[in-house]
């Protein structure tokens, strides 16, 4: 059976749910060890040990790993990967930043955004903004390096008994010419866009930052996360981490409601795994209606408050 090394994503305190999703993909490929790179991250290693499918957790705890700097993490992963047939990471900005750097150090190609495992060397992945699905095979006896498209895999459950955590040291020269300065998270205490069951999103049609409050209010009523089109982010209505689509987040909630979003392919690729898609747009010809399960043509400024009210009782 193939051996798989799965790179855990975390923020120093909490294991990101992207790891539990990528684990589902990893388990389809072989026996999985999880690697946690961090500084003062015993808690994260412990959480990783409770993932279903984890055989062991390798914990590389050192000050240099305090922040996710690809140039620092890649040589460590390249060294660890030599013992494994497969190296996998979630296809989040974290995994996308680091993994190609490891692949290049090892001189092997990378499969980005694995959406389906066909067999141990063959995978499906989206290209052309999700308009085309391609099947690719890793040649010969090449090591398999890939990122798992988060929305394509359900998170694994917790394990019955936790896996062993091994603190290890890795021999690697770590560069010092990248300095991590800070993270400006817009966060707040709303549900996380990539794991929420419900998402309410707004586009250019919302018209202003102030009007976006209507979206936030409906979201609060539904316990939903808030998303946006690129046009809404570009216009400064909401921060970049709310962007959904080809160059934003790929999401798979049970319910997605879009207000004032036209449905450009680059946006639709981010939501096509949603359970139920609802579109509200004043233009009956808007392309989003082609993919919507439920469409309502009308003025969002009239519909949003009405809907909020209707859901209130």
């Amino acid at each position: 059976m193939a051996t798989v090394l799965l790179l855990a994503e975390h923020d120093g305190e909490t294991l990101n749910v992207s790891t539990a999703r990528a684990m589902r993909c990893a388990m389809a490929l072989g026996e999985v060890d999880v690697v946690v790179l961090g500084a003062g991250t015993d808690g994260v290693a412990e959480q990783a040990s409770r993932l279903e499918g984890a055989r062991r957790v390798l914990h590389v705890d050192r000050p240099e790993n305090a922040h996710p700097v690809a140039a620092v993490m890649a040589p460590q992963l390249a060294s660890l990967a030599s013992e494994y047939d497969v190296l996998l990471a979630p296809s989040s900005t974290f995994g996308r930043d680091i993994l190609p750097r490891v692949a290049a150090l090892l001189g092997v190609p990378q499969i980005s955004d694995i959406m389906e495992v066909i067999d141990e060397r063959t995978f499906k992945r989206p290209i052309y903004a999700g308009n085309v699905i391609t099947t690719v095979r890793v040649p010969g006896d090449c090591k398999i390096i890939g990122t798992a498209r988060i929305a394509s895999f359900a998170a694994v459950a917790g394990a019955q008994a936790p896996a062993a955590v091994e603190s290890i040291q890795v021999e690697a020269d770590l560069p010092t010419d990248t300095v991590w300065i800070g993270l400006e998270a817009s966060g707040g205490d709303r549900p996380d866009l990539q794991s929420a069951n419900r998402v309410v999103a707004g586009g250019r049609g919302i018209g202003s930052k102030e009007n976006f409050d209507l979206i936030f209010r409906l979201a609060d009523r539904l316990g939903a996360a808030v998303g946006a089109s690129r046009a809404a982010v570009d216009a400064g209505y909401v921060p970049n981490d709310m962007q959904i689509g080809q160059t934003g987040k790929i999401i798979a909630p049970d319910l997605y409601i879009a207000f004032g979003i036209s449905g450009a392919i680059q946006h639709m690729t981010g939501i096509k795994d949603a359970g139920v898609i609802v579109a509200i747009n004043k233009d009956g010809e808007a392309p989003i209606f082609e993919a919507a399960d439920i469409g309502l043509v009308g003025d969002l400024f009239q519909i949003l408050p009405e809907l909020e009210k209707a859901l209130g009782d």
Binding site: T93, I127, N131, N240, K272, I277, V278, I294
Partner: protein, 248 residues
Amino acid sequence: MKVLVGIKRVIDYNVRVQINREGTDVVKEGVKMSINPFDEIAVEAALRIREAGQADEVIVATIGPGAAQQQLRTALAMGADRAILLETDREIQPLAAARALMKLVEKEQPGLVLLGKQAIDDDANQVGQMLAAQWDRPQATFISGLDLSDGKLKAVREVDAGLETVEVSLPAVLTVDLRLNEPRFVKMPDIMKAKRKPLETIAFDSIGIDMPPQLENLGYEAPPKRSGGVRVDSVEALVAALNDKGVL
């Protein structure tokens, strides 16, 4: 300081991409081709660095077919100083593209390499990171802001959690996101001027790279279509439909 920008010729982002009948490729004949949108932003960023007096030369390079000269000419019309085409009709995947760009880095010794964060055809999001690894230099990927002074570069990165700031020493590889800038419009006289700018063509097979293993393409298919939905005509009917689907 020289700035090297890697650009890729891709199907224009407005085209609805079709798969050929055999399922072996997407239809490229008679389809509008453009500079990858992210790479246009990389070119613009390089031009602004030069215009701020922080670089003397902007070199644009592509690995691709002879027809990619068009995209290089467009970048020259935007204001790049010279262009290099590593010509090949072969499919060049990210690791091979990164190795080829590394050859140009060795030859040109740029202080900065700017690439797009991803090519909108293969959506790989790999080349910049791979080049940085081979060059053993820092990388700042997915950037939407940059500030260059005294050989240090501060970059703002768009990450899932928000905006991250890193500082890298030069030389470095940057990959740019869409919000970094808005590329300038190319004016008619610039297109005329660009015709006289140097464009060097080098056979890809002559640059002596170790051709890395590439992924085998077994076929292309359309994504599963979502089945047609319903239209409702009131908020009341919408709520009823949502209840029907069991999502409330």
